[in-house]
């Protein structure tokens, strides 16, 4: 069974949990005391991921680290439908995976600063986060104009959406207002209506109707 080193308040762990559940994979969650224990910097965990970062998984005796890499790994290994990681759109998928990493470096950093007192330049992190939100909002505006609901021009979400969703949905926890980003807000709402979507703390938990009358 896949072992998943997990912290429920991590947006990067959310991505992995979401895909594991969408793919119907059995997994064992190993809880890591990220805060206040900083267990991800402990020798035990550094053996699994020398970078001291969550998430990491162990599958078939091998460790895979980095949220985006795990999404690629799981989709490539277990998604028979090929929908989550479409082979003929690999360039675009990787582009958004890299973008997701920048969201971690900005919005997630601001959130860790505000809630858990990480020492960093929070105004720089917020400015960078807002710049990224403008870029993805514009992309989604044109996508919607062309009749597409997701980051890729496909009738279903992909790991690109999974990778970008959590830190955008958690932006207000880092003091970034999402109200100006209309297309992003609509995309987020579509994502949260996906079957079996479970919000993590910090994402609006209100149940939304599955169909708009």
């Amino acid at each position: 069974m896949i072992q998943f080193h997990d912290y429920p308040l991590s947006g990067n762990c959310f991505k992995v949990r979401f895909l594991l559940e969408q793919l119907g994979l059995e997994y064992q969650s190993i809880l890591v005391d990220f805060y206040p224990g900083y267990e991800h910097k402990s020798p035990r965990f550094l053996n699994i991921n020398p970078l001291g970062q969550l998430p990491a998984i162990m599958d078939k005796g091998r460790a895979v680290r980095d949220a985006q890499a795990i999404l690629v790994y799981l989709a490539a290994a277990y998604d028979k439908s090929g929908k989550w990681f479409p082979r003929d759109h690999q360039g675009e998928v990787y582009q958004w995976l890299a973008f997701a990493d920048q969201l971690t470096g900005s919005i997630s950093a601001a959130r860790l600063h505000d809630a858990m007192f990480y020492r960093l330049d929070v105004s720089k992190a917020r400015t960078e986060g807002i710049k990224l939100l403008r870029i993805i909002d514009e992309h989604l505006w044109f996508a919607e104009k062309d009749g597409h609901d997701w980051l890729l021009p496909l009738p279903h979400p992909t790991i690109a959406d999974v990778a970008c969703l959590p830190y955008i949905a958690l932006a207000e926890e880092g003091g970034i207002d999402l109200a100006p980003f209309f297309s992003v807000s609509r995309w987020m709402e579509r994502f949260m209506r996906l079957e079996n979507f479970k919000p993590m703390p910090g994402m609006m938990p209100l149940q939304m109707p599955k169909e708009t009358p």
Binding site: P8, L9, M116, G202, P205
Partner: protein, 284 residues
Amino acid sequence: MTPDTFTRSQWYAIGRLPDFEGAEAKPVRLLSQDLTVSDAAGVLSVNDADGRSLLTQIRYGHLWTTLSDTPRPLYDVPEFDEPDRRLVTAGGVGVRCSGLRCVENFLDMAHFPFVHTDILGVEEHPSVESYDVSMDAEKDEIWATKCKFFQPMASAAASGGQMTEYKYRVPHPYSTILYKTCPIREDVWDLVGLFIQPVEEDECIVHSFILVFDEENTDTGLLHFQQNIFLQDRMILENQVPRKLPLDPRWELPTRADASSIAYRRWLKANELQWGVALFNEAA
């Protein structure tokens, strides 16, 4: 605004002991003042910006300090001395609102089904039954008792839905403790509480703890249960307007379910607490 006498005369938790291991003038903010904490061979000291040494004590897994030279005594929680109980301290979490708002949110059961969906409440059981609120005049603290709520997963040790009985205690303007039915032992209560560090009038750090009988969960499991719940609250707290607590009855209308919050607001007013309070006239 400088803190009123009631606010200033209290002890405040400013962190867990491991947070200050080897600290050299580690900055801490309390009641709009910059303080530093230092660790000299295991002895923790707190100084204000003028270098004045403040009173300290170590209790309930946290370091406490006060700006007052003659503080009110810190309230007793005898359960901390009971054997077999497990204490998990969840670490401080920053919240952009008055700490008074956090106490009030903690006292509120009506939000369980909507904010802590499928954990502390379900939408099919939204009603708050009548409960009792009383003042303990001798200790000058508020108790809400006979609170009952249907909870699908009342604690990390719960194995299914149960009617959970609660008691709430407010012994301090910035502390509140919940006593709830222990799912695995009869005739004892599990404790969950908040020690709030007011940073500014509309900003605080919430130090939370759980003190429970639990033979099944790891410390990390208990910690994550508590953090999940509190981070769900944080989002709601940061969206409350105004960020300070309104005490003027013209501003927010309470219902019967808010009896404990009404008592809390009255108690703050009776003690002439002003720091962290939103003024009706300023809003108008």
